[in-house]
C-alpha cells in the first residue's frame, strides 16, 4: 500500500461511501429477505417465527416448486446453448460482411424493445389462426395444418414457445458481445497465422476460440443469471398459466408473495433463488478458469 503513497485514511474515506451503499442496497435486503423466509407472514399483519418450516414445505410438499425449478434450469440451458450460435454469427459477420455494424445493430434491436412489447408481439404471432395468429396461418398455408397449435395455452408446448421468444430476443445481445470480443483480437495475430498457413476455421480454432474465452464467459454468466431471473416475459405472455404450466421460480415467488399473500413463503423461494445463483456463478467461474489455463 505504501507504494501508492496514500494514507490509509484516504483509502478508507474513498471506499467507504460505495461500500456502504453496496451493503445497504445489496446485502441488507438479501439478509432481510432470508430472515423473512423464516416467518409465517402475510406481508401486512403480525408475523410469527416458524424456523425452517417454509423451506421444508417448499422442498417436500409444494407441487409447483420443483417443476418450476426444472423449467428455470431448462431456460438456463437453452440460453447458454444459444451462445455458441451467437459466436458463430459474430465470426461470420466479422469475416464475410464488409460493414457489419448495421447488421449487428439490427440484431440488437429486440434487446432494446420493452419486454411488454415483445410479449404482446409474440402473443399475436402465437395466436390461433382464427384470431390472426401469424405462425399458425403460415403453417396452414404451407399445408402443415397438423402442426398448428394454440402455442401459449397447451401445457406441453407453452414453455417451449416462451423459451423461443427469449432466445430470439437475446441472440442479438450475445452476438454483439461476441462481436466486440472478436473485434478486439489484434489483426496482426491473424496475419501472422495466415503466413503460417492458418486460415478460416483453422484460425478460429487456434486464435479466436482461445482468445474469446473471457468474453464467452461473460455471455454465459449473463445468460445463466438472466434466465434464472426470467419473470417479465413469462408474466406478460402467460402469467405462469395455464395452471402453472409455465411457472418459473420467480413467477412462483411472485404468486406466493403477492397473490397468495404468503410473504414469508415467497421470501424462502427468493432465498433459494439467491443461493442457486451464487452456486451457479461459482461453478461457471471454476470451469472457465480451468479452460483459460488450458488454452493460455
Amino acid at each position: 500500500m505504501n507504494v501508492l503513497k496514500v494514507s490509509r485514511f484516504t483509502i478508507v474515506a474513498f471506499i467507504l461511501p460505495c461500500t456502504l451503499i453496496y451493503f445497504g442496497i445489496v446485502f441488507v435486503p438479501i439478509l432481510v429477505s432470508l430472515y423473512s423466509g423464516l416467518l409465517e407472514w402475510n406481508g401486512i399483519g403480525q408475523s410469527s417465527f416458524v424456523g425452517l418450516e417454509n423451506f421444508r414445505n417448499l422442498f417436500f410438499q409444494d407441487p409447483v416448486f420443483w417443476p418450476s425449478v426444472r423449467r428455470t434450469l431448462m431456460f438456463a440451458v437453452f440460453s447458454m446453448a444459444e451462445i455458441p450460435l451467437a459466436l458463430m454469427v459474430a465470426i461470420f459477420l466479422r469475416r464475410y460482411i464488409r460493414k457489419p455494424n448495421f447488421l449487428v445493430s439490427s440484431y440488437f434491436m429486440p434487446v432494446i424493445l420493452s419486454v411488454v412489447i415483445i410479449g404482446q408481439l409474440w402473443k399475436t404471432i402465437y395466436n390461433p389462426a382464427a384470431m390472426g395468429g401469424m405462425l399458425n396461418q403460415i403453417l396452414e398455408t404451407v399445408g402443415l395444418e397438423s402442426w398448428t397449435r394454440s402455442w401459449l395455452t397447451e401445457p406441453k408446448v407453452a414453455m417451449f414457445a416462451l423459451y423461443f421468444v427469449a432466445l430470439w430476443q437475446y441472440l442479438g445481445y450475445h452476438t454483439l458481445i461476441q462481436f466486440t470480443g472478436i473485434s478486439n483480437i489484434p489483426a496482426e495475430i491473424y496475419e501472422a497465422a495466415r503466413i503460417d498457413g492458418a486460415e478460416g476455421f483453422k484460425a478460429d480454432r487456434y486464435i479466436t476460440f482461445p482468445m474469446i474465452i473471457p468474453i464467452f464467459k461473460i455471455s454465459i454468466v449473463l445468460a445463466f443469471i438472466g434466465s434464472l431471473q426470467a419473470f417479465d416475459m413469462v408474466m406478460v405472455m402467460t402469467g405462469g398459466g395455464p395452471a402453472h404450466a409455465t411457472d418459473v421460480i420467480s413467477t412462483h415467488m411472485y404468486n406466493m408473495s403477492f397473490l397468495s399473500m404468503k410473504y414469508g413463503y415467497g421470501s424462502s423461494i427468493a432465498a433459494v433463488l439467491v443461493v442457486v445463483c451464487l452456486i451457479a456463478t461459482v461453478i461457471i467461474n471454476f470451469i472457465f478458469n480451468k479452460l483459460e489455463k488450458r488454452f493460455s
Binding site: 384470431m131 394454440s150 395455452t153 410473504y263
Partner: protein, 452 residues
C-alpha cells in the same frame, strides 16, 4: 483539459447544490407537517381559527386512471369542486390500474405507509388489512349528513368487521350473461333458460363458425366467477363456501363435483374462444365488444364499456340458467364493488373523513348524470329512461330488482392462499380434462392447508 475539468467541477458543484437544496426542502416540509400535527391537537380546543389557515394534503389512491371512464371524470369533478370550497385542502390523486394498485397497496401496507384514502375489495380480501389495524373505522363519518342511508341495504355488511365499517363501496354489481342479438339471430338460436339449452346454443353457434362465449381467462378470476355461478345453481342456493367454512360440507360434496362436470361440458362443447387462457380481461371483453363472440359472462360493471362499443344496441342480457333443474335464476353472483378506505395512521384523519363524506354523498348524483349509475352501490334518485340510458342498461337495472340473494366470488370468501389454488385449478379445466373428484380433493386439501 483545463476546460473540461472546470466544466466537470461546475457540474459537480451544481449537483451538490441541488442535493443540498433538496435536503433543505425536505426538512421544511417535515416542519410543516409537524406544525400541522400540533395544529390538529390545538384544533380540538379552538377549532374555528386554526382550521382555516392550515394547509392539508390528502393522498387519494384510486383505480380510475382512464380519462374516458365516467368514474375518472366524476372523481376529477368532485375533487375540483372540493378544492374550490376548501382552498386550504389539496387532494393529490394517485391513479393506478387495478393490479398496480393492489400491488402498491400491499407494498405500502408492509411498511405501514397506507395513503390517506385507498381502494380495497370486500370481505375476505380486505380482512388482512383490517386485522392489521391499518384502516380507520368510519362509523362516525357514516352518520354525518345521513351518508349511511344512501347505501343499499345490507351492502355495507361486506365491508364491516365486528360492528365497524371500514370501507365505502363505489358499486354493487351482479353477474349476468350479455349476448349479441344479431349473432343469435344469425345462428337461429334463442336465449336459453336451462343449462342443457345453453349447451345446445353453444354447439349451434360453434357449428356456424361463431365463437359462443369469450372470456379473459389469463386473469383467472373470470373463469372462477363463471364457475361459482354454476356452483350456485348445483348447490340449489347460496352459501356453499360458508358451509365449507362451517365444516358442514367439504369440497368433495356432490354439488361441487357436479358444477365441475357442468363446467367441463361447456369447455368440451367448445364454448370458449381458442387459446382462452392467454387472453387477459380486456382482450376477452374486446372480442365481445367487437362482435366476434355471441355471449359474455361478466359483472354488470361491464355495461358502460359495452354501451360505448361497436355492438351497442345489439346487446341483451339474460340470467344464468338452472343446471339439471337445480337453482334459482334469480340468485346471482354478487359483486359488491371495490371500496374507499381511510388509513388509520392518516395525519389528517378528520379532513380525510370530511372529504370522503362529501365525495360519497355526491357520487350517485354525478354518476347518474355521467350515465355511469348502473351498478352504483347507493340509492340513485332519478328516472333512468328519461335520462337517456340505453335499453340494455334498462334491462340490467330491471334484473337488479329481481335479485333474491346469491354468493360472493371465491376470492372474496376464502383467504388468498386457498383462492390462488382454486383459480389455477379452474384455469386448468380450460386446457385439460380432469376427473371432477380430483378437483374437489385438490380444493379440500388446499383449504385445509391454508386454514391450519
Amino acid at each position: 483539459m483545463v476546460k473540461t475539468s472546470k466544466l466537470l467541477s461546475l457540474v459537480l458543484a451544481t449537483t451538490l447544490l441541488l442535493s443540498l437544496a433538496a435536503c433543505g426542502g425536505n426538512a421544511k416540509t417535515k416542519e410543516n407537517t409537524g406544525s400541522a400535527n400540533s395544529g390538529s391537537t390545538n384544533a380540538t380546543e379552538k377549532p374555528a381559527e386554526k382550521v382555516e389557515d392550515k394547509k392539508v394534503t390528502i393522498t387519494f389512491q384510486n383505480i380510475y386512471p382512464d380519462p374516458t371512464d365516467p368514474k375518472n371524470q366524476i372523481m376529477k369533478k368532485l375533487v375540483d369542486q372540493y378544492h374550490t370550497d376548501h382552498p386550504n385542502i389539496t387532494i393529490e390523486l394517485d391513479s393506478l390500474n387495478t393490479d398496480q394498485q393492489k400491488l402498491k397497496l400491499k407494498t405500502q401496507a408492509a411498511s405501514k405507509e397506507v395513503p390517506d384514502i385507498t381502494i380495497v375489495n370486500p370481505a375476505a380480501q380486505m380482512k388482512p388489512f383490517v386485522d392489521a389495524k391499518l384502516f380507520a373505522p368510519l362509523n362516525d363519518m357514516l352518520d354525518q349528513n345521513g351518508l349511511k342511508a344512501t347505501f343499499q341495504e345490507g351492502l355495507l355488511d361486506f365491508y364491516s368487521f365486528d360492528g365497524n365499517t371500514y370501507a365505502l363501496p363505489d358499486g354493487n354489481n351482479i353477474a349476468v350473461v350479455y349476448y349479441n342479438k344479431e349473432l343469435f339471430e344469425q345462428a337461429g338460436v334463442k336465449v336459453p333458460t336451462t343449462y342443457e339449452e345453453m349447451l345446445e346454443v353453444v354447439k349451434t353457434l360453434k357449428s356456424k363458425g361463431i365463437t359462443p362465449i369469450s372470456i379473459g381467462e389469463k386473469d383467472s378470476w373470470t373463469g372462477s366467477f363463471l364457475f361459482m355461478n354454476m356452483l350456485l345453481r348445483t348447490n340449489g342456493g347460496p352459501g356453499f363456501l360458508q358451509d365449507v367454512v362451517d365444516k358442514k360440507k367439504t369440497f368433495e360434496d356432490p354439488a361441487f363435483t357436479e358444477a365441475v362436470d357442468a363446467f367441463q361440458s361447456l369447455v368440451a362443447a367448445g364454448a370458449f374462444q381458442e387459446g382462452a387462457t392467454s387472453f387477459d380481461y380486456n382482450a376477452g371483453e374486446n372480442l365481445f365488444k367487437t362482435g366476434k363472440s355471441a355471449m359474455y359472462f361478466m359483472g354488470t360493471w361491464a355495461t358502460g364499456g359495452i354501451e360505448t362499443s361497436s355492438v351497442n344496441g345489439k346487446v341483451g342480457v339474460f340470467k344464468f340458467p338452472t343446471i339439471n333443474g337445480k337453482g334459482d335464476p334469480n340468485e346471482f353472483m354478487l359483486a359488491p364493488g371495490s371500496a374507499f378506505a381511510i388509513s388509520a395512521d392518516s395525519e389528517h384523519l378528520q379532513e380525510t373523513k370530511d372529504f370522503l363524506n362529501y365525495f360519497m354523498l355526491n357520487f350517485p348524483k354525478e354518476a347518474f348524470e355521467a350515465k355511469g349509475a348502473v351498478g352504483v352501490g347507493q340509492i340513485v334518485d332519478g328516472d333512468f329512461a328519461a335520462a337517456g340510458y340505453s335499453d340494455m342498461a334498462m334491462e340490467v337495472l330491471g334484473l337488479f330488482k329481481e335479485v333474491k340473494g346469491g354468493d360472493l366470488a371465491f376470492d372474496n370468501t376464502m383467504n388468498p392462499g386457498t383462492a390462488q389454488i382454486h383459480l389455477n385449478s379452474i384455469q386448468n379445466l380450460f386446457v385439460q380434462k380432469i376427473d371432477s373428484a380430483e378437483v374437489g380433493k385438490e380444493h379440500q386439501a388446499a383449504y385445509e392447508d391454508n386454514n391450519k
